[in-house]
């Protein structure tokens, strides 16, 4: 596949909760092996957009999705597509760390085990924790409860758990919003390291964070895509007045 072909693509995506519109026709392309940040004020639809990419919105009653979404050229909402299969390839990290009430080791092996992973689990745990920059801190206590870890460590464990599934895309929904600045910095460093292997889409309300870690940025406002492009260009030279107002902190 062409390196520059979009891995995720939407066309005329419209989502509403009951009669409340959340996304009003968004067409975007997300390129592989980049970090794409989705920014915008609260309620602009950025989490809704993110959750479309692994069909987590399926769990919300009365939600209506129109338009097209493609993952690797495949229509994600085709009736024959099983969302369970999509989620094997598109992982997700949530706002608050949500490890399972199990050991660190079992948190990593949980996903691969239910999909009958054939390889060596010990090696998988080590590799995943190393990639999530958590190995050195936990290698001596892999069988302790995940709840014994700090919030930042728990979040890196959740990233490791996602990595263990060997996904193509990792979606991150404000992964640092429950963390202190030091833990946030560690996660940001980690995202930089993961960029070479995975496509990362991160929702953040922290504009500095988006500017620091992303290659491309999408700016959403009231369910509309206002502006998108290279992060550097968008932050230094926005073409739309609303974008400039938002990134300079005039609203949001």
């Amino acid at each position: 596949m062409n390196q520059e072909a979009p891995i995720l693509k939407t066309e005329g995506l419209k989502i509403s909760y009951g009669s409340t519109p959340a996304i009003n026709g968004i067409s975007i392309e997300i390129r592989p092996n980049r970090v794409t940040a989705v920014i915008g004020p609260s309620g602009c639809g950025k989490s809704t957009l993110l959750r479309t990419f692994n069909r987590m919105n399926d769990f919300i009653p009365n939600i209506k999705t129109e338009g097209q979404v493609w993952f690797r050229g495949q229509n994600m909402f085709h009736p024959k597509v099983d969302p369970v299969n999509i989620r094997k390839h598109v992982g997700m990290v949530f706002q608050r760390p949500n490890p399972f009430p199990k050991s660190i080791y079992k948190n990593i092996t949980w996903g691969p085990t239910i999909h009958s992973y054939a390889g060596n689990l010990d090696e998988l745990v080590e590799k995943s924790l190393k990639r999530a920059a958590l190995w050195d801190e936990v290698k001596s206590r892999l069988h302790d409860s995940a709840f014994d870890l700090s919030g930042g460590q728990q979040q890196r464990l959740c990233i490791a758990r996602t990595i263990a599934m060997n996904p193509d895309v990792i979606l991150m929904d404000e992964p640092c919003s429950a963390l202190d600045p030091k833990a946030t910095a560690r996660i940001e460093d980690l995202i930089g390291e993961l960029r070479s292997r995975y496509t990362i889409v991160i929702v953040t309300h922290n504009m500095q964070q988006a500017a620091r870690i992303s290659d491309e940025t999408l700016f959403l406002y009231e369910g509309n895509l206002i502006e998108s492009g290279k992060t550097k260009a968008l932050f230094t030279n926005p073409t739309k007045q609303q974008t400039e107002d938002y990134i300079t902190g005039r609203f949001g």
């Binding site: 987590m56 949530f94 009430p101 199990k102 949980w110 728990q154």
Partner: protein
């Protein structure tokens, strides 16, 4: 003046509340004291080892024997049978209600289950005798009219609302982020329920079972009607048995002279029953407290 009046109301109101608490505490204390002294009298006549480890229970007819094990065995059969009946069904109901049911189904089934909990226990006994037992007898012809299986099933129906409601609370107490974590890793609803929800709620399911066991042990009317009054040391669920509670009913109803050793057996059995249910309740509530969902973030 007004201030004084307010103060008077305040003090007398508090006094009234203390009176309520005092009445409860006094009653409880008196019950325990009476149970203790009468059981003490019994054990001065019958050695406690004979009572606890004897395998023959014939306290009312000569030659008397006071081995409580047949009654304990009878109660045990009812408890095991009712849990075996109610736990799988209760877990199933709770799983469906908390994980899959649309709101309108949930809001219909929950009150229905609570009605089940409000039916007088004597009605359950009658139901066992006239409905469950005939079915059992048509399936297993060797079944006696009074039998442990019928009692166990009917007690299982009685504790079903409790088990399903406590398990439902346990599941709904788990944060939805936990389920999302499972789904995001490509798990099916079945895998999320069996590998995330059930294990995470394990402690509280255990607590629900223990509280239900304690309810089953104390159940009286239905088992007296359904399971009979024959203190047999048996493992055959189709035979008639007698539970500890059913024995107490038998003695309380009969013309047993007050003060005799046969009268005192009642208190010994009640004391044992109280001790078992008390321990169960303590373990159950401790488990419930300890396993409240907690996560650090």
């Amino acid at each position: 003046m007004l201030h004084k009046h307010a103060k008077f109301v305040d003090v007398s109101f508090k006094g009234l509340l203390w009176l309520c608490i005092g009445a409860t505490l006094t009653t409880t204390t008196l019950v325990v004291v009476i149970l203790g002294t009468e059981a003490y009298h019994f054990f001065s006549l019958v050695p406690i080892t004979e009572f606890l480890f004897g395998t023959h229970w014939e306290p009312l007819i000569e030659p008397r024997s006071f081995g409580v094990l047949p009654l304990v065995c009878g109660t045990g059969m009812i408890v095991l049978g009712s849990i075996a009946f109610a736990l799988p069904i209760g877990l199933g109901i709770a799983t469906y209600l908390s994980e899959f049911a649309p709101n309108w189904v949930r809001s219909t089934i929950k009150p229905t289950l609570e009605i089940l909990a409000g039916i007088p226990t004597v009605v359950y006994g009658y139901f066992a005798l006239t409905f469950i037992t005939p079915i059992l007898r048509s399936l297993f012809p060797e079944t006696e009219i009074f039998n442990a299986a019928s009692g166990a099933i009917v007690v299982g129906i009685m504790i079903l609302p409790m088990i399903s409601s406590l398990c439902d609370d346990a599941f709904r107490g788990l944060p939805s982020s936990l389920r999302e974590g499972g789904y995001a890793l490509g798990a099916t609803p079945y895998e999320v329920v069996t590998r995330v929800v059930l294990p995470a709620a394990g402690g509280r399911i255990g607590a629900a079972v223990i509280l239900a066991v304690s309810r089953a042990i104390g159940e009286t009317m239905a088992v007296t009607l359904a399971a009979g009054a024959s203190p047999n040391l048996t493992a055959n669920p189709f035979e008639s048995i007698q539970t500890m509670t059913a024995y107490i009913v038998q003695v309380s109803l009969g013309d047993t002279p007050v003060g005799g050793v046969e009268y005192l057996t009642c208190f010994a059995v009640a004391g044992l029953l109280f001790t078992i249910t008390f321990i169960m309740n303590v373990i159950g509530s401790q488990l419930l407290l300890k396993t409240q969902w907690q996560s650090r973030s």
